[in-house]
Structure formats: structure tokens, C-alpha cells
Amino acid sequence: MINKQSNVYTIVYITVMVIVVGAVLAFTSMALKDRQEENAQADKKSQILQAVHISTTRSTVIADFNKYIVDQLVVNDKGEETHGEEAFTIDVAAEAKKPVGERLLPVYICQLPDAGTKYILPLAGMGLWGPIWGYVAFDADGSTVYGAFFDHQGETPGLGAEITKPAFTDQFPGREVFKGNDFYPIEVVKAGQKPLNPNVDYVDGISGGTITSKGVGAMFDNCLSPYRAWLEKAGNATKGANAYSTAANLVPADGNADASNTMRRLTTEDIATPKEGASVNIRATVTEAEQAAARAEAAADRTIAEKASAL
């Protein structure tokens, strides 16, 4: 009979136990890894789609994602597209901690049959107990919010966790981040209060979930600001393209077309022979397109100047 109180027995026992338990855990983890990753990806896709008000089930999510998300880009804080990284695999939470200039910023371009092009941008930040994240969808103008989705790891149920509920997220659609030439990521204020700057669009926070609500506000500020240049560019391109298509009564041009390009086409081809019904507001729309192009150029100039001064 072995002496169960001896040191040797204890050491052998604990060693065997650790090996067995380690093997069991390693086996479980290996055996389930593929499935778990698949689930995590499907979940991310369904979260992205929820930002544009599409709810899917586990079985349809991949098909829906491929149907609605027509393009995925990675941009930098100057609004330029970068290559070599895949948007979907970028760890947004890690990017959000880097200095603005080094961040890789994913953009999901979504094409909805009834509402047109939307840009979906990922957000990541901290709540009270742990990470919070979300996706915010912008209209093609690059300024108006179309929808928002938030999730969290472990905020208090009934308080901070309410950020996932429609009562909170439904406040976002219609808010604008560009006011004139200024960029204000949406603020989250205590319910009933107003932000210090009256120009800023804001939503009401959750009463009792102050720190989580502040976390959402900080997340918008931190994660949306680097997108400013890109949103401006995308918005201007759309405005230019829209002005062009309304004036010439044509099918909408590519939303990503360069504004100044559009201008050139507009002046050379169509103004000479305006189509009927469009001639009345052609002056107004041309002016708008001109302004859009001017703004885009100004933005480009600024970027060049910044680059020059950096050198």
C-alpha cells in the first residue's frame, strides 16, 4: 500500500494531474479551435451588418455579408488607401491604441438595395469593466450617420450594457459629424444636458451607466477622428458625382469618382447640351460641384503642405 501522505506521492500525484488536465484542455482547445474562429468571424460579420440595420442568422450571415459588403478598404489618417493588409483581419482595438499617424483604418463599403452606398467604420474603446466596441455606418455624404451598433464584454446588465439596446443606438441615425468645414465626432452627454459647443451633434448617455457612456463618447472621438480626411474625400466625391448626375439626369456615377474629375466631365460634355428638366437647377448644382471640388483640392493641398512641413 502506497503512503498517500508522503511527499513523493504528493509530487507524483500533482505532476500527473497537471499533465492530464493540460492534455485535456489542449485537446479541447485544438479540437474546437476552427469552429470557434468560424463563430467569431460570423459574429463579427453579423455585427458589421447590424450597423446598417440588417439582422441575420448564423446560417445566412456569410451569404448576407458577401451580398451587401461590396468592398473592404484599409486607409490611413490622410485618407489614402493603403495596401497589403486585409480590412477584416485588422485588430481595431490594437490600432486604436497606436498614434494616429500609424493606424490602419478599415472601411467596409456596403451597398444597400434601397438606401444606396454606406460606409461602415469600426470603433473600439473601453467601458467601465472591459472593452467596448462598435460599428458606425455613414451615408454616402461621409457625414450623416445611418446606423450604429455597439457591443461590450462585461458592462453591468441594466446599466452600461444598455448601450447595445435600440433605445441608445437609435439616437445615432441622422447625426452629422461635419458641420461646415469642422469635424466633430458625435458626443455622448448625460441625459438632459447639452455639450459645451452647441454646434456638435450629441446623443443622450445612459443614466446609471455614466462611465460606459463616456467610454462610447471617447471611442467616437478616438476612432473617428483619424477617418476625417477619408470621410471628407468620400463625401466630396459623392457630392460631385451627385451634382453631376442630377444636372445631367444620368445614372449615378461611381461614388468614389474624384470630384475634380467629375467637374471636368460636367463642364466639357454636358453643360453645352443640357438635357430637358435639368437646365433649371444646373447653375445651382454646378456651383455645388465646384465647391466640392474646391474643398477636395484644398484638402489635398493641406495634406501636401503637411507632408512638406513634416519633411
Binding site: Y13, V18, Q36, D43, L159, G208
Partner: protein
């Protein structure tokens, strides 16, 4: 001693007479954390039943081999390993549930009811009674969680399982949700009220 208590008693005693929460006053911390809403309370209850039952069985199976001086460590390892396996399985097969559970699943390891049952029962009993004891205590714990969650969600948010229960006309007439119910201290007060009612009913539990 084990022979004197029937399996039926092992299973049903923890529901009321020997309830882990309101009689033994164990597991209060998780009671406080997960009962702001009914749904997490329910999910937590179910997970504790599963983990408690299986860890009781495993410890009971190996009870005669465990060296006495490291028994607590062995118990902890078994519970922690089980909790991780349950979490991994949920991640693979019930992703939505696991997202809600992710915070609470870690709490199960620190739940004193588990250590209490392993140490007090599974170390000295055969696997089948240990299994019944685990399920019984898990249910006893879950019942209290659900009662507390029911009152806190109903009075604090006006909903149950996320569905609006208190009609809109109440709010129009000036009714306001009691925000205090969502905060942790109210869990203790609700538990205390349950203990009060329970002891008023079971006079033999009252301390002299």
C-alpha cells in the same frame, strides 16, 4: 453518516431546508453580480448546476487517491479545468450564449458553493450521491438567483427577460422604475428579505 441520509434528501434538502444561499449564506457575491436582469441569473444558475454536478462526480471518483495536504488545490484544478472546457464548448457550439456568459463563467471558479460542496460532500461520498448533491445545491442556488433577478429586473427596469412587463400607461401616470434595484446593494436587501420570509416560515431554522 452518509448512509443515514437518503438520496432523496440529498437532492431535495438544498432546495429549502439546507439552501446554500439563504441558509448557508454562500455564493452571495455572484448573487450580487448577475441578478440585475433575469436572463443572466438564469444562465448562471444553469452553468453552476452543470459545473457543480460534474466536479462533484470527478472529485468523488478520485477522492480516495487525493493526498490530504493538497486536496484544495486538486479541487480547484478540477473546477477550473471544467469551467474552461464548458467555456470552450459554448464558444464552439453556442456562441451567443457564451458571449453573455463570458463574464460569469469565470465567476463560477470562485463560487464558494462549489468548494463548499466538494470539501464537505464529494470528498466523503460515492459518485451518485455526489452527483445528486451537486445538482440539488445547484438548483437551490439557481432558485434564489431567479427570485432575486425577477424582483430586480421587474422593479428596476420594468421588464422580464427583456420584455416590457409594466404597461406604458403606468409610466404615463407617473410611475418611475426604481433605479436603486439595479445597483448591487439591493441584491443583498432582496436576499435578506427572502431569508426573513424563509425563516419566518421554517421556525426550526431560527437561531435562539
Amino acid at each position: 453518516m452518509a448512509d443515514k441520509i437518503s438520496n432523496k434528501q440529498i437532492f431535495f434538502n438544498p432546495f429549502s431546508k439546507d439552501n446554500p444561499v439563504i441558509v448557508q449564506v454562500l455564493g452571495i457575491c455572484s448573487c450580487l453580480a448577475v441578478t440585475a436582469k433575469l436572463e443572466p441569473a438564469l444562465v448562471m444558475g444553469i452553468s453552476v448546476i452543470a459545473v457543480l454536478a460534474f466536479s462533484n462526480v470527478i472529485i468523488s471518483l478520485i477522492r480516495n487517491t487525493i493526498p490530504t495536504n493538497i486536496r484544495i488545490i486538486v479541487q480547484l484544478v478540477v473546477v477550473a479545468a471544467l469551467v474552461i472546457v464548458v467555456n470552450q464548448l459554448l464558444l464552439a457550439y453556442a456562441y451567443d450564449v457564451s458571449k453573455q456568459l463570458s463574464v460569469f463563467i469565470g465567476l463560477i471558479i470562485t463560487n464558494c458553493i462549489l468548494m463548499g460542496r466538494l470539501e464537505a460532500f464529494a470528498m466523503g461520498n460515492k459518485p451518485w450521491p455526489s452527483f445528486l448533491d451537486g445538482v440539488g445545491n445547484g438548483i437551490g442556488y439557481a432558485i434564489i438567483l431567479i427570485i432575486v433577478g425577477f424582483f430586480r429586473e421587474l422593479l428596476g427596469s420594468g421588464t422580464l427577460m427583456g420584455f416590457q412587463i409594466i404597461p406604458q400607461c403606468f409610466y404615463e401616470a407617473g410611475y418611475v422604475n426604481n433605479g436603486l434595484m439595479i445597483l448591487p446593494p439591493m441584491a443583498l436587501i432582496v436576499v435578506a428579505c427572502i431569508i426573513w420570509a424563509h425563516r419566518a416560515w421554517n421556525k426550526d431554522l431560527q437561531e435562539k
